[in-house]
Point group: C2
Chain length 325, copies 2
């Protein structure tokens, strides 16, 4: 079992060195990846082809941001007298479940009927590596696995609450609803598409709050729940999550506009290229970058009351807008 | 609210009149359908097109077999001194959740990349009525809604257990795994497809135990859990479910071979037509029918110890092999 990182960041609004955050994320990966692998080490009831597709999707190289949020939320809210390793262990099931939901949503979003992407994290997408039917079913099974993991590995009261939070975040009012609205403009499903820049920004905010933001919020809440966080702590995590989620998405749009394919491991310029609204195209690159910075500072400030155990969260908020992948 | 049916069947192995079972199923529909409608009456966070697709899929005319199993399992195991209506109310959330999972699995199975069906329950399939992306996302959101319903509407301990049972039944080792294996023979994914009739029957049994049987078993277990059934009662329900599930699938294959499209509301002969193994083609119609009868009698006998409150379950087992749709 990997040990938890030594915190060298601080929870102040000063941006930490990127290497610090990279090391913290490495520690998360060292902790969670063997557990992800164990979650998809199936017995004979799961067909081999399906099991292979699930492993391909879940164990693909990734930042593991949602597990990181869950583990760091648990350490930020847990009893400081208890070893951080214990808090991370308590939040391991939510961290796995969150990554299952995230991985399934990527597999389905990449499908020919959806975004029709061939490349994901630098590798062929699931339906290209296997086939479309297997990719659909792989996503379906990963979603079920998320709830099975929460229900099997958390105490009953926390498990029930965690299933509720995750199901809502993964459902039609959040993750799936955001994806539908993201497709809507492209597909002509909107009776009155937004045209004024302010309306377009509000429309993008609404999509992102559900498509990516809701699962970030759920990650933080599940991490908190795993260590029986108090209401005030959960409220601080939620404030962090709302600002962090939007900052993340604006940064993602900036990378899509300006990043390199080699660093990102996927096609760049694809969103703007298919006529999708993005923050830089609607608001301009400079304004988008300013807003992302403001949001990152807001996020970092939100967790300041949680003190030094929340240092990784605060550092992540600054890093997320400075990363190149 | 509809009242519970007056039981006129008996739990003996004698087959009841089909009208009796039809009336019992009508009572289940009267109870559950308004609740299904309420489960997909969304607020503004769920996009209208997605909400419409979810309503289309979940509220399509159907037998509501899984809700029936859950409600009848609850009445079979609940305190006989308590009104049956109370037992049904306790099992309402599982009944809704089970129908969500069933409806989502039909939407995904019908997709062009899977079984490529245009007609389901006499109406255009979801991807034909809407579009492929919406159908994929509709299924995804219905799966999440199943777990949200369990977690929101059951007491925490029962909810956690129910989420575990349902997630396993809906996952890669059961529902999804069965569908993968069902596609496998057609698509040439099997290294060594079964060729001897006995091996082919064993292969079909294995698929059906997971593809349809597991969700029937989960329906019964969730109904039992909702009324805090004892281990002996749950074991009787499980014996019933294993026999019932296979009997159901053999009857389904017989209908596919011999039924009429008008009665079934879907293409007939499609399974045999695409070279899929079916019980009548492998074992012969007479042998398949004999086996279904034996299994139905086994199922009815399994719930005899539960007495008169299990009469609907016993009657259903006989009806399922005599139905024409």
């Amino acid at each position: 079992m990997a040990s938890c990182p030594v915190t060298s960041g601080s929870s102040s609004a000063t941006a930490p060195a990127p290497e610090t955050v990279a090391r913290s994320l490495d520690a998360v990966r060292g902790f969670i990846e063997p557990r992800l692998a164990a979650a998809v080490a199936f017995d004979g009831e799961t067909p081999q082809r399906l099991a292979a597709a699930m492993r391909y999707a879940l164990l693909a190289p990734g930042k593991r941001l949602r597990p990181a949020l869950a583990l760091w939320a648990a350490q930020a809210c847990g009893d400081p007298a208890v070893d951080r390793e214990r808090h991370w262990s308590a939040a391991a099931a939510p961290a796995i479940a969150l990554e299952c939901i995230h991985a399934y949503s990527l597999v389905h979003d990449d499908l020919p009927a959806m975004d029709d992407d061939d490349l994901r994290r630098g590798r062929p997408t699931c339906h290209r590596a296997f086939d479309e039917a297997t990719a659909i079913l792989c996503g379906d099974a990963l979603q079920a696995l998320a709830f099975e993991t929460l229900a099997a590995d958390m105490p009953a009261t926390a498990a029930a609450r965690a299933c509720l939070v995750l199901a809502h975040a993964a459902g039609g009012a959040a993750l799936v609803g955001g994806q539908v609205d993201d497709l809507a403009a492209e597909r002509g499903w909107l009776a009155e598409p937004p045209t004024a820049p302010d309306d377009q920004v509000a429309w993008m905010d609404r999509i992102n709050r559900r498509k990516t933001g809701a699962l970030f919020l759920a990650s933080l809440e599940l991490g908190g729940l795993a260590v029986a966080a108090e209401a005030g702590q959960l409220a601080a995590l939620a404030r962090f999550g709302r600002a962090f989620g939007l900052a993340f998405q604006i940064a993602d749009d900036l990378l899509d506009a300006e990043g390199t394919e080699a660093a990102l491991g996927k096609r760049v310029g694809k969103d703007a290229g298919r006529g999708k609204l993005t923050y830089p195209t609607v608001a301009g690159v400079a304004a988008a970058r300013d807003r992302a910075r403001t949001l990152a500072a807001e996020a970092a400030a939100a967790v300041e009351p949680l003190g030094e155990p929340a240092a990784e969260l605060a550092a992540l908020a600054h890093w997320i807008i400075a990363r190149d992948h």
